[in-house]
Structure formats: structure tokens, C-alpha cells
Symmetry: C2
Subunit: 225 residues, 2 copies
Amino acid sequence: MNTERHKDHETHETHEAPRNAVRPARLAATAHDDGVDAAAAAARRLIAALLLAGDHTDADMTGVAKQLHAIADQLEAHAPAREERMVAMWRGEGITRHDPVTGPENALAPPLALYGKDDGSIEGTVTLGLPYQGPPGCVHGGVSALLLDHTLGVANHWSGTSGMTAELTVRYHRPTPLFEPLTITGRQISVDGRKIRTVGTVSAGGRDCVTAEGLFIDKHLPRPR
Amino acid sequence: MNTERHKDHETHETHEAPRNAVRPARLAATAHDDGVDAAAAAARRLIAALLLAGDHTDADMTGVAKQLHAIADQLEAHAPAREERMVAMWRGEGITRHDPVTGPENALAPPLALYGKDDGSIEGTVTLGLPYQGPPGCVHGGVSALLLDHTLGVANHWSGTSGMTAELTVRYHRPTPLFEPLTITGRQISVDGRKIRTVGTVSAGGRDCVTAEGLFIDKHLPRPR
């Protein structure tokens, strides 16, 4: 099934060459300890701390809001124009740095680190906290769908033929716990013309909580330039 | 189809009674201008500003990271224990304040404000920026799935019979644009025993970009207490 591996010239520069790479190969950008990655990591901690505190504490939320706006003012003053930034985002390794699932620059992303395996599948582990809650104490079903949609897309890259999601079916077998390590997997199962079929799972403690199958079409939107 | 409206005693306290409410009724918590809502709104701006800036600017990212960690330190010092906080989260109006789609206290949430309509459907409008990007300039397919899963759940509440997602099928018809107003809709179409079927759309400029259908089961996890 991986005969077309690395056909996808649009994206191959983001991954190690499977043939020579040490396994498993990291398929998402590695977070740096400094720069915007460090600031985004701190922002993640802040998001969780805000939600944990809530109202009715002695924390000075008005002061916190003022401080955050002041930092945002400073960042916006230094930021490039959006169009210019988007070109950089979609150049080279940049393309795995900003997404809302694996991106170290994106504070919405847990972030999930995904690794490619010899058998053509990919896998990652993540523990989710309060910001990702759906039912009490459990991961939001839509968050599992988000993680799986992205993971299936990365599994397609790893197998060499990727595309855009046409249809995603997500099945919920049991509640997915917060605060426990979750294993996320993805595996391309077929390529038939431009139609790509890919499956994935979210499991906890060795039991599948959520499974997904996706139909992808081998086409890509142009990158900003 | 709405014969069971308001059967759902677990959740009805979060919504206006449809019979007497001024239409359309707001189905998500209204964000306050102060307290944790204001701080979460500032945190959303910060997340977007970090991603817009990226690396390679003159912004002092090390300093930003330090400031954010200091704020998180302060919030964590004032925060209740997680178990205690979760009880408060799931009490009364709290249940629509913290989720990652509509929750004003959750900086991951855009947030999406949803309104119930007389015909039993619900609707909301949202414009998404860089943190929600999937393909270049477009909303991440998994983010659309997240918005739709949540919206279908709220549509179930509005129709009076809600439950947990068992299966969600999401179809992608055309790219969903960032930076433009999106309309999100949801509508419960049938209740058959404990099986609930619900549909929804994400549209831009009057054209459907993403559609979803969900199968929900009328059961609920216990709330923390």
C-alpha cells in the first residue's frame, strides 16, 4: 500500500525520508525551547489555568485581562502583515508548525506529536485537560474528531499520497477520559485513483474509545506566495 | 418531531423556556465584560497574535513566555482544586460556560454563540482566524467537525431530547474560508426510542461548505458532585 510513498511532492519536505530515517520518525514539528514555541507553551498553561480558576476566586481577572491585552498589543506591533506571515507559514518545515492539532506555534494545539512507523501507520500520545472537555471529565467528541481528522491527514502524508478530507465518519464507542494518556493512530488503507481511504483510533488504557474512517481526495489548495 | 421538547431535565436549566422566550433565544452563555470571560477573551487575542507574529520578529518571545508563566502561576495559586472546580463547572448555567466551542471561559472556543429558532433549528455565526487554519487560508476540517458536533448537541437540547454522540459523519463540499462570517446550523430530525438523529451545516456566503449528520444516544454521564 505504500508504493506511492513520497509521490506527494507538495509535502514531502516536512518529513524525514522513511528509507533512511531512524524509526519511528517524528511527523510533526519539534517544539523549540525558545521563541514563539515557548510562548505558545506558556499560553497553553495560561488557558488551562484560566479555566481551572474560573470566577469566584481572589485572582485579579481584570488585571490578567489587561496584562494579556498589553502583551497582544506588543506582539501585534511586531507582527508581519497577515499575507506575508501566511507565505512563511506555508513554506518548508513551516507547514507543520501552526496547525491546531500538532503545531507548536498554535496554543490551541495540545500539541499532539505524531510518529511514523515501518508498517505505514502513524501514532502519537497525548493527555488532554479541562480546555478539551465535553461530557463531565471526558474529551469533547468534536475534539476527538479534530484529532482524528488531522491524524488521518498526516497518515496520508506518511504513506505518500495525501489530499483534502471529503468525508469523515467518527464512531464513539466509550467516553474518552481527560487527564489520562490517549493513543492516537492513523493508517492509510487504500488509494484508488484520487480516492484515498484512511482509518484511525483514539484509545485509552488499550481500549478503543473513538474510531474514524476518512475519504480523502488527492488534491491540494495552492499555498500563499 | 419536538413532542419531547423539555423532557431533558438534566439540561433544561441552561435554556430559556421556548414557549415564552423572545425569539431567537440564546443557547450559549453570554460572555461577561469582566472576570474570567474578559481574561479568556484577551487570551484568544493573545493566541492569534502569537501565531501571527511567529518567530523572526523583534518581539521578545522569551519575555512573553516569562510573563505568561507568571500569570499562570498567579492563577493556579488562586484556583480551587480541580475536583471542586469541576463540580462548579457542571452546576446550573455553568455547563455552557466552559466548553471548547461556545464557552466564554475557554480561550480555545472562538466562541460560537448559538440561537434557537421557532422552527426547532438553531443557528450561529462565527468568523475564524489563523489559529483554526487547516489548508492554506481555510478552516481546518477537524475544526468544522468540532463546531458541528457541538452544534448538533445543542440542537438536541433545544429540541428537548439530548444525548451523547454515537456516530458523526461530516462531508466536505468546498473549502471553508477563514476571515469570513460562517453560518453554523443544527436541527434535530428524529427521535426513535433512545436514538436521536440530527443534522447541521457550515456555510459561507450562502453556500454549504460542510454538512454533518449525527446519531446520538439519549444517555448522559453523571455530573461531578
